[in-house]
């Protein structure tokens, strides 16, 4: 196990810098999630930590040791790839024990460690199968098993769930969280899915355009976003952003209201709009309401409600939960 220190880390391809002055401390045993839209540099940052991409500038310390020029093996990290990257000609057991066989460990030790990992991941019955004979979820578990077997200092996971279907994704999400609790190893997880980030992370690092926008616990990011970008990125359904007279009224360039922070039917001073779409999820009802001058707003109501498309509704934001932003997208203190 080891903590990591990223000091002014940067990455450039030729003259194009894609990551700028990344400063980040990751504590030993922490579960960190890099999240951001496509092209924000999250995977590149992970690959720099893994040793698969050269570091252009700055220092990478793993376990207090400068690791910029160490090979992936010397960094003692393990990585789970989005595409699983299992060796197709090897059986599950051979895949999982490959790193140990490269170290020329005794066969019985390899078998023992592979069996332990397979037990933990419920892969026991599949050890003699080839990856091509497994389902997507099983392959992903083998990829995780391959990483576990090595007992690395740091676990890196690059969008490991994005090839799985929704049901399997949430199941595997829980498994990875449990695995982290059991192993207490430092884990760095890359995803573009903010639900994964919110549900798994000790701390989330939000990246945008090669810069860190904010680092914090899921609830810090949710409640106190450091920018309009973070406010919009974290939370599902997304935060509503309103400009014009509604924002002026609260002294902001942009007013941010989360869908669950609207009260419906709040009287004449509320914002009047027409329902354009209703999504009934059972536990929640999502309304899309077209409010003149504000656009289509998303409203999330707890429980089941009767509104239908075409209904006129009155919305009022809960003022204690609103977010105010400047023209530059910076938050205005309440």
């Amino acid at each position: 196990m080891a903590g990591l220190e990223l000091k002014k880390l940067s990455k450039a391809y030729g003259n194009v810098e894609v990551l700028h002055d990344i400063n980040l401390s990751i504590a030993d045993g922490e579960f960190i999630v890099f999240v951001g839209p496509s092209g924000c540099g999250k995977s590149t940052l992970l690959r720099m930590i893994a040793g698969l991409e050269e570091i252009t500038g700055g220092d990478l310390m793993i376990g207090g040791k400068l690791s910029n020029s160490l090979s992936p093996k010397q960094r003692n990290i393990a990585m789970v790839f989005q595409s699983y990257a299992l060796y197709p000609q090897m059986t599950v057991a051979e895949n999982m024990g490959f790193s140990l066989s490269l170290e020329r460990r005794p066969k019985d030790e390899i078998a023992r460690k592979v069996n332990e990992a397979a037990e933990a991941l419920k892969l026991g019955p599949y050890l003699d199968r080839k990856p091509g004979q497994l389902s997507g979820g099983q392959r992903q578990r083998v990829a995780i098993g391959r990483a576990i077997v090595r007992q690395p200092q740091v676990f890196l996971l690059d969008e490991p769930l994005s090839n799985l279907d929704a049901a399997l994704r949430s199941e595997t999400r829980v498994e990875i969280s449990e695995l982290h609790q059991r192993m207490a190893t430092t884990m760095i997880y890359v995803t573009h899915d903010q639900v994964e980030a919110m549900t798994m992370a000790d701390r989330i690092v939000v990246l945008n355009g090669g810069y860190i926008e904010q680092v914090g616990s899921p609830m810090e990011l949710y409640n106190k976003p450091a920018s309009e970008f973070v406010a919009g990125f974290i939370g599902s359904p997304k935060m509503n952003f309103v400009k014009g007279r509604f924002a002026d009224a609260v002294g902001a360039a942009t007013l941010g209201v989360r869908p669950e922070h609207f009260v419906v039917g709040a009287g004449d001073d509320a914002w009047e709009g027409k329902v354009t779409l209703v999504e009934r999820l059972g536990h929640d009802t999502i309304l899309y309401v077209n409010v003149p001058e504000a656009g289509v707003l998303t409203v999330s109501l707890s429980g089941q409600h009767d509104q239908t498309v075409g209904d006129t509704v009155h919305l009022k934001p809960k003022m204690e939960f609103i977010h105010k932003f400047t023209n530059e997208g910076r938050p205005i203190a309440a």
Binding site: A50, G51, L52, S71, P72, K73, I77, A78, M79, F81, Q82, S83, A85, L86, Y87, P88, Q89, F98, S99, L102, E103, R146, R150
Partner: protein, 270 residues
């Protein structure tokens, strides 16, 4: 329906044209000399293997066969290693001068053997390798390596980069990745290289004629020339020699046909 018949007819004619020389050669090789007056497409009435025996013993084909086999097998095996390693470096390793090397390989593809046969002769002679198997093998490898580097490169380009990266993370060296991760999944490319290089080496006449003039070093393709003089031609000897020469190649293709087709097409579809 009519289109299907027309297609079958065209395919039938093409197949007959392709197969005819082979069938006629086999017929001729099995005919006693007395039947040679019959038209070539008459099958042998009194079938005999006497020409095969004669060619194999008196014609020196046992020796030629051995020479050809040694050269072709070594050519094929060494080519697999050289071409696959070069292609591995081209695809998976970043190094200075990569583009320059690629251009060199491209030039190697474009220059016909006949254009450089004289300098090649001089080089082989200056190394003292005339009339040796080694001289021919080195020349064969040098002339064909570009083709197989490109073939392996196109095959390796279809191997997910993540596999290479996963192996690096697992602690494998480049050679270990080559040997344990990449080559085991490159069977179609390996089989295609082995077959094609074996075939080219087996059938080549020009280099063998030029670089191996002593009788005991000759290969089958050169040996066949013994049955043909300026004024005369030993048709039965030539035919049975041709069949002897063709048999190993036909057998190899039959055994490895599936792999071969996959190898030839894999680069195109990935």
């Amino acid at each position: 329906m009519l289109g299907r018949w027309i297609l079958l007819f065209i395919l039938g004619i093409t197949a007959a044209l392709m197969a005819a020389p082979l069938i006629l050669t086999v017929f001729t090789s099995l005919k006693p000399t007395t039947e040679l007056v019959n038209p070539a497409w008459y099958p042998p009435i009194d079938m005999t293997f006497e020409h095969y025996v004669r060619v194999w013993t008196e014609g020196g084909f046992s020796r030629y066969f051995f020479n050809t086999l040694v050269i072709s097998v070594i050519d094929a095996i060494v080519m697999i290693f050289i071409a696959s390693m070069a292609a591995y470096a081209m695809v998976f390793i970043d190094f200075r001068g990569k583009i320059f090397l690629q251009i060199l390989f491209l030039i190697g593809l474009m220059i016909p053997v006949t254009a450089i046969v004289l300098p090649l002769f001089q080089i082989v002679r200056s190394f003292g390798l005339l009339n040796t198997h080694l001289g021919v093998i080195l020349a064969d490898l040098a002339l064909a390596v570009s083709v197989f580097v490109f073939m392996f490169t196109s095959y390796f380009a279809g191997v997910p980069k993540a596999l290479h990266e996963a192996a690096r993370i697992d602690g494998a060296t480049e050679f270990q990745i080559y040997r344990r991760v990449v080559m085991p999944i490159a069977t179609p490319a390996v089989v295609t290289t082995a077959l094609l290089e074996f075939l080219w080496s087996w059938n080549d006449l020009l280099l063998r004629l030029l670089l191996m003039t002593r009788d005991e070093m000759r290969t089958l393709s050169v040996g066949l020339l013994n049955f043909q003089g300026t004024m005369t031609r030993d048709v039965t000897g030539l035919s049975s020699g041709t069949v002897i020469m063709a048999i190993p190649v036909v057998l190899l293709f039959l055994f490895f046909q599936r792999h071969f087709v996959r190898g030839m097409t894999s680069g195109a579809v990935k």
